[in-house]
Symmetry: C2
Subunit: 202 residues, 2 copies
Amino acid sequence: MPRPSMREHLIEAAFDRFHEHGFNGSGIKDITDAAGTPKGSFYNHFDSKESMAVEVMSRYARGRQMRMLADTSTSAVDRVRAHFEFMSKDLEQHDYARGCLFGNFGAELSTQSPVIREEVARRLAGWESLLVAALGEAQEAGALASDADTALLARFLVSAWEGAALRAKITRNGTPIDDFFAVLNSLLQDAAPADGADTQNA
Amino acid sequence: MPRPSMREHLIEAAFDRFHEHGFNGSGIKDITDAAGTPKGSFYNHFDSKESMAVEVMSRYARGRQMRMLADTSTSAVDRVRAHFEFMSKDLEQHDYARGCLFGNFGAELSTQSPVIREEVARRLAGWESLLVAALGEAQEAGALASDADTALLARFLVSAWEGAALRAKITRNGTPIDDFFAVLNSLLQDAAPADGADTQNA
């Protein structure tokens, strides 16, 4: 395996700093110290902390394994559940202290940085599109009623997940995430065909 | 009316700064400049920016008119809806750019400041209690089924509202709030008695 470049070291260090301490709570020196590089090295690799944050978001997105949502080897409804379960495990591993990087940046920086606000909006919209596609697939397979509003459901799930991750960060426990799953199950049940048939899992 | 004290001016200025630019994005000089007071005046009134933030949260909580939730002159379910409508108007007035101060502080500061994290947790738990009480009242009046889990519903509504306010801050439009109301109505309908009777509004 090739040795990670200094640029990669810096992105990794920034990822941890930003996720735990926020953007404004992380100085460039904090990041270069954590990466074990001289402060001056930062500007050899990045134009600004802001452009570094955009790269950190790209790295974070990769770690969320969005492709799970498009993997048609299991039923779409199961995939949506498994996807949120995967992200729940990730929050739990950090004792719920980190929350979602997209939500954190959105809350902290939406006024301060149009570039970051737009990147967060784009990332969440991309996630939402994958959810809409999976829910649409479930609908075509008859696991969701033909009149279920899958676009609204996908949008709501993204916002509600962000709220649950945020509240778990504040309470430092998994209760808000458990609540999310309870309501997710109830919403999927509401959206199920009225005759209760689940042809997808039949 | 007595002239607001310098302390009040400082809290008001900090409220606007913190809500729009976040805690770390607001220097003490930004706050004293906005209040039109010398920078040195800050430490005559506050021990730290953190203790000022706690007072700002108290001011924010008052503005959210929580007592609406306890006003028994209208039905409890109507009150819950009116309460969220009131907060929705407040977000709209600022073009959705500010979000919820509690959520913003929770996202930005939960790692950095245990004092602020605990105060945010306390404020959100207080809000949740008022929602539990209103939903319990609706349940006693027969507007919600006797087996509806009002505690879970109240907890979920707080988290989902925070997520909706956060996403609206990112998208700069009211769609996430509209989605919240659509799901709120569906959850209240799910929790309604099976026979469809709404004795409270009868």
